[in-house]
């Protein structure tokens, strides 16, 4: 049986079909999870995709965190289930307290839509399990609020606990310590601003996102005890 990946949809989410397409292309089975359902329907992994959940009103991700599906995602994550937040999904996970820190407006106030180089910093996460530390990936970013920040203690912990998953080779948005993606303590919850699903076919200009999404599928297929 193929790995089932739940893709969360809030009103205003707009990258869910890209994620579904990429997951299915890699042999996974994708299922849309509506934000109003307080369950993840027994999937093996959850992706919170990009977009503008609840219009990004108040702050990006601020309202989305109260959607019923988010308590189910929180329980799933607490049980060790793989959860990946991409772009707006990363913002939602920080607001929900599943990842530390916050995403603020890009330094320079520019909306960024370009391909950037990312360096894999650790293989100790569900999104980079199949990648090699030091590996450089070319993946698109598409955001106005991707400037990661946290307090000094949190940054120290992220570094000491090997939780900085991806760094920008050339920082595009002012992000603290060039952070493009971070993981939870156990490595099963990951948030990143770049869009691996948009780099999953040669026609899209890059296939560098494949190793990340394959890592997720591999991690999701393993029994919890092994993770």
């Amino acid at each position: 049986m193929s790995t089932r990946v739940g893709v969360v949809v809030f009103p205003g989410t707009n990258c869910e079909l890209d994620v579904v397409w990429a997951v299915e292309r890699l042999g996974g089975e994708a299922e849309i999870l509506w934000h109003g359902d307080a369950t993840v329907h027994g999937v093996d992994a959850v992706v919170v995709p990009g977009g503008f959940a609840h219009g990004d009103y108040l702050r990006t991700g601020a309202i989305a965190r109260f959607s019923p599906v988010m308590s189910a995602v929180g329980d799933f994550a607490a049980g060790g289930g793989p959860v990946v937040g991409i772009c707006n999904g990363f913002q939602v996970l920080t607001e929900a307290g599943l990842l530390p820190g916050a995403l603020q407006k890009n330094a320079g106030l520019t909306f960024l839509c370009e391909s950037v180089e990312l360096r894999v910093e650790t293989a100790r996460s569900v999104l980079t399990a199949n990648a090699t530390p030091g590996q450089v990936l070319c993946i698109p970013i598409n955001h106005f609020e991707g400037n990661y920040t946290c307090d000094a203690d949190t940054l120290r912990r992220l570094r000491d606990e090997d939780r900085i998953v991806l760094r920008y080779v050339s920082n595009p948005n002012g992000s603290l310590d060039d952070i493009a993606g971070i993981a939870s303590v156990a490595g099963n919850v990951v948030g990143l601003m770049p869009h691996p699903e948009r780099a999953s076919d040669a026609l899209l200009g890059s296939t560098d996102g494949v190793v990340l999404l394959e890592s997720l599928l591999t991690s999701a297929a393993q029994p919890l005890a092994v993770r």
């Binding site: 601020a62 607001e95 530390p100 916050a102 603020q104 890009n106 106030l109 920040t149 307090d151 002012g174």
Partner: protein, 86 residues
């Protein structure tokens, strides 16, 4: 009682305020060379029914902590005023 509440949500010191920084550069360009700092904040106004001003204030602080402000990057200030109906 009815209370009028004003909440100012501002950036924590040290957190980048790109809008403020941009306006801070723009004002001297218009000749206002004496501007020393600019910060751009959010104002939220509520009208609430509450038994007392203290109760209103306590409830608004809770709202700020749970939703209206993100303590990682923001701080907030609450002003409560009793609304006298005409």
């Amino acid at each position: 009682m009815k209370y009028s509440v004003r909440i100012d949500v501002t950036h924590l010191p040290g957190v980048l305020d790109p809008q403020g920084a941009t306006v801070e550069r723009a004002l001297p360009a218009l000749g206002y060379g004496n501007v020393r700092s600019v910060s751009i904040a959010k104002t939220i106004r509520l009208t609430i029914d509450s038994a007392s001003e203290d109760a209103a204030r306590a409830q608004v602080h809770e709202m700020c902590k749970r939703l209206l402000a993100n303590p990682v990057i923001e701080r907030y200030n609450v002003e409560v005023e009793e609304l006298v109906e005409a």
